[in-house]
């Protein structure tokens, strides 16, 4: 998804602001959101991290920039709870009003009428991540360390972990991590589609052109489906 979340390389966000003696949670509501996230996972509403990340990507872009990290989580979780029918928006608004709040205050959540993942079933219990995926994934890795690869040029409306700044770019494989669940399909309940994951290093110059800082590079962990061989 070419969404507001895809921030790498973007300009205009100013200086990095650090807090002195920053607490783990700035307010109790942030910890509440964390607890609600865990409950939604336990209830099967958040099926996997990919689906949750995509729900956060789908929230209102203004809220994404303005509501902070736990505000983004809140939007993503509310989206999934409403899509799953676990929470009804009228009940939620009534509960907000009962606490003296404005139930019509701009919310971050953006539930789809027909969520893409409603029929999602994990392929096998507990088979989400590396160990299990590797075991079920027979073919060998297509690329070895040192291989030159080029990333896919185009984006997608769905979830993906290839950031816009690294599209249509050439890099070098520096590590091979075995087979992992593919977020682009798993987020949508369209299968775990396990495939090899590579750490690919890109020179600053390849990513940013003449304006790159000298002697800098960026690595990304990229799935085999994002990559093409570069013929020398």
């Amino acid at each position: 998804m070419d969404g507001i979340h895809d921030l790498g390389g973007k300009h205009g966000f100013g200086a990095v602001i650090r807090e002195t003696d920053e607490p783990v949670f700035h307010a109790r509501w942030e910890a509440r959101v964390f607890a609600v996230m865990r409950a939604a996972s336990a209830a099967g509403v958040i099926r996997n991290a990919d689906q949750f990340r995509h729900a956060i990507e789908r929230i209102d872009p203004l809220a994404y920039l303005g509501h902070g990290y736990y505000g983004r989580w809140l939007g993503g979780i509310e989206t999934l709870l409403r899509e799953a029918g676990v929470v009804d928006v009228a009940d939620l608004e009534a509960a907000i009003a009962a606490r003296g709040g404005d139930p019509r205050a701009p919310a971050a959540a953006r539930p789809d009428r027909q969520p893409a993942h409603i029929d999602y079933q994990p392929a096998a219990p507990g088979s989400r991540r590396e160990g299990q995926a590797s075991a079920r994934f027979a073919p060998g890795a297509r690329f070895a360390p040192g291989a030159r690869v080029r990333t896919r040029a185009t984006g997608t409306a769905g979830h993906t972990r290839l950031p816009a700044y690294a599209r249509a770019r050439c890099g070098t494989v520096i590590a091979v991590h075995g087979a992992w669940v593919f977020p682009d399909s798993n987020a949508h309940g369209a299968g775990e589609n396990p495939q090899h994951l590579y750490t690919v290093e890109f020179s600053g110059r390849e990513l940013w052109g003449d304006e790159a800082e000298p002697g800098t590079c960026v690595t990304l962990d990229l799935f085999e489906q994002y990559l093409q061989e570069v013929t020398p």
Binding site: V24, W29, R161, G215
Partner: protein
């Protein structure tokens, strides 16, 4: 974000609805607060770093397979299914980010600081790492290469900082006390 009252009330309302449905206990919030304040935090990563500084065999294991090497510590905290530890040297400085969301190795570093999750750091550190590091007070020599690790999948990264020159003779616990969270993200040197 000057006023987070609407988010606070919405979170409270959502929590109440899940408690009503029996999907969440009223004590869960306090448990979350206790977990990430008391048990899961950068003190865990600091112990790993200190051990690597004093034990060359552990350091070799840690750099070869971070996940296996930290298993002996039995940390809780999640978000660290595969850990890769990257070593700072005189000629290479490492720094970690997640531009697409805010991936972070919770088991060793706890929950990330606000700046790590904010747009400014996420947007800038991949494009102008030297400038960002300088704002953090890290002024690198021109010949020191910078490698920015953008955590775009489930691999989590932690930086093994260089041991401070004045730390000769300190024991493992004293060394751990010298290791800062920021040094393990790569935005500070010790």
């Amino acid at each position: 974000m000057s006023d987070d009252q609407p988010q606070a009330l919405r979170a409270e309302a959502l929590e109440a609805l899940l408690i009503e449905q029996g999907l969440l206990s009223a004590e869960a919030v306090d448990e979350v607060i206790a977990t990430y304040n008391e048990r899961v935090g950068p003190m865990n990563g600091a112990r790993v770093v200190a051990r690597a500084w004093v034990d060359p065999a552990f350091k070799a294991r840690l750099l070869a397979d971070g996940t296996a090497a930290i298993a002996e510590f039995a940390f809780e905290g999640g978000q660290t299914e595969k850990l890769v530890v990257v070593e700072n040297t005189d000629t290479l400085h490492n720094v970690v980010v997640c531009t697409l969301c805010s991936c972070y190795p919770w088991a060793v570093l706890g929950l990330p600081p606000k700046w790590y999750k904010d747009p400014a750091y996420r947007s800038r550190v991949v494009r102008e790492p030297r400038r960002v590091l300088a704002e953090f007070g890290v002024h690198l020599a021109e010949q020191t290469r910078v490698r920015v690790w953008d955590s775009s999948a489930e691999v989590r990264y932690m930086v093994l900082p260089q041991r401070p020159a004045d730390s000769e003779g300190l024991d493992e616990a004293a060394l751990a006390a010298r290791v800062s969270r920021d040094a393990m993200i790569g935005v500070a040197v010790l």
